[in-house]
Amino acid sequence: MRKNKQVITSTGVAVREKPLGLRIWNNRGYYLMFLPVFIFVIIMNYWPMLGIRYAFYDYKPVGQPDWVGLEHFSKMFSTSAFWTAFKNTLELSIVRLLITTFASVIISVFLNEMGNLMAKKTLQTVIYLPHFMSWAVVASIFSLLLSPSSTGMVNGWLKDLGFIAQEQSGIYFLADSKWWRPIFYGINIWKETGWGTIIFLATLSGINPELYEAADIDGATRMQKIRYVTFPALSNTIITVLILNLAKVMNMFEPVFVLYNNAVYDVSDVISTYVYRQTFAIALPNYGYSTAVGLFKSLVGGALVLICNWASKKTRGRGIV
């Protein structure tokens, strides 16, 4: 009965669907146009997936690799550095997500209250700025500002204010386990909070002005309007932003990679940086082992994407992409 399937054309007329072969032939131009994309995606994204088999082998650059089964995985689960990296990945990404989202929401709400359009636009331009600086640049800027040398601004100020004695050496913020995480979160807030406001400001500009007028008639104060009109309007967007970004928590790499160093591995090492070091920065890299850790990361990350996609469909009726 397939042949009798009916389709509705754009003019609203129901016609019998053409046979598959003919439809494919009619679309040949589109297939041809998709071909370059297909080739690139297969080479860049799918070909590497074949390499996942190394996770179950003892990788050798030449000759046949030996099958070792799940040996790499049992080694991974009994390595404390791996668990440190796993916990750090979750903690650093989730705390970073929560604080930057929180800061973005607060800033958008108060930016939205700003009456002067010129001032508002100027501020938006200013706070979006750091987003376009690469992580390498941001790390460079802050390593100079926080440097314990005589040209480090923060240490210089601390000395001027008397928090550090003049003759004492400054605090080496980025190489101190106590300081690294607060600094990391602070730099993330500096770089991404402004950019994060875009989506909230878009939502706020869509709030029906009648809601504010009604609140005025009821005698609401400015803070009450923020509390009872503005914040509730943002709740869906906040959930959206959290879900979209939770799907990416396992991807944490570059922000840590540019800021960490061997003095602070215990508080900063994440799975991707751990894999990097196990592969490129040790004397005898075990490709099989690092592939296994990478595979673990991909699987957890993929599961998170699917969970968040499901959550997204539940809460707002569509998936995350």
């Binding site: 679309n27 590497p48 950019w195 875009i198 959206t240 490709y287 690092s290």
Partner: protein, 280 residues
């Protein structure tokens, strides 16, 4: 008169908070800019350099070890953006064809790569086979093939009314003809916005270079800069300039292209974000 007074206080506090936030963002940037033009390194925050010099910038232009990475960054950004735009418009256009058999399969092919990937080592081994290790062109290919941007472009194209396609088809226009004569001219904002996303991604990349490239002739400027400042890999005795001046001039050179263009392109950046997250 009480409520009116309260409104005033709110506004004043609001302005003060935002002046503070604005300064928090600008002070580090201004400090870098001033230090890049100052012949001596100081920790103080100054509004203007006390001993003005352009030696930092001169050193970047005149030292092969520094301008080679800069040119690498420029070239890979141009070609990476072009490749990205070609692939994203093609895939976006084809995937927006709702009646095409196999459309769901192609969409799945792209989406699956966002759920699962081979990981660092398998990717490294493939790039090695493709002779992209120790080759600056890896930046072009790794960023040009960005499935997320492909999907964004599809979302843009789906906003074009289907009746336009139908009308062109009835007039005997080929898929390629519709693409060039109708879709692309209607999508200038989308092209600008997604093109910028590709450009920023290539220009700002550090980790790809760190992982794949060891040859100092093939690195990009971000890599060179970060290594110079944080890992101290540059023999400073070769340059006739103070260390802080050179470092800060390097930072400014690394952010200059987008900082100059940014005020003019801000709306395109913002469109890209909103299409990705709010509207679809």
């Amino acid at each position: 008169m009480k409520p009116k007074k309260r409104i005033k206080t709110f506004d004043i506090v609001n302005y003060i908070i935002f002046i503070f936030i604005g300064l928090m963002v600008l002070v580090p940037i201004w400090k870098v800019l001033v230090d890049s033009l100052n012949a001596v390194g100081v920790y103080q925050f100054q509004l203007w350099p006390n001993r003005f010099t352009l030696d930092g910038y001169r050193t970047i232009i005149n030292t092969k070890l520094l301008y080679q990475p800069f040119m690498n960054s420029v070239i890979t950004t141009v070609f990476g953006t072009l490749l990205g735009l070609v692939l994203s418009t093609l895939s976006g256009y084809v995937l927006a064809q709702e009646t095409m058999p196999g459309r769901n399969f192609f969409a799945f092919l792209l989406l699956f790569t966002m759920i699962f990937s081979g990981g660092m080592i398998p990717e490294y081994l493939v790039m090695k086979k493709l002779h992209l290790v120790n080759n600056v062109w890896i930046l072009v290919f790794r960023h040009g093939v960005n499935v997320y941007n492909f999907v964004l472009m599809k979302n843009f194209f789906e906003g074009i009314p289907g009746s336009l396609y139908e009308a062109a088809k009835i007039d005997g226009c080929s898929p390629m003809g519709i693409f060039f004569k109708i879709v692309l001219p209607l999508s200038k904002a989308a092209l600008a916005s997604i093109g910028l996303m590709f450009a920023v991604a290539v220009w700002n990349d550090y980790s790809t270079v760190k992982i794949y490239i060891a040859d100092p002739q093939q690195v990009n400027f971000q890599y060179k800069l970060r290594n110079m400042i944080m890992d101290g890999d540059t023999p400073l005795t070769e340059y006739n300039v103070s260390q802080t001046t050179l470092f800060n001039a390097g930072i400014i050179a690394a952010v200059l292209p987008f900082m100059v263009l940014y005020p003019f392109l801000q709306k395109y950046f913002v469109t890209g974000v909103n299409v990705g997250a709010v509207k679809e």
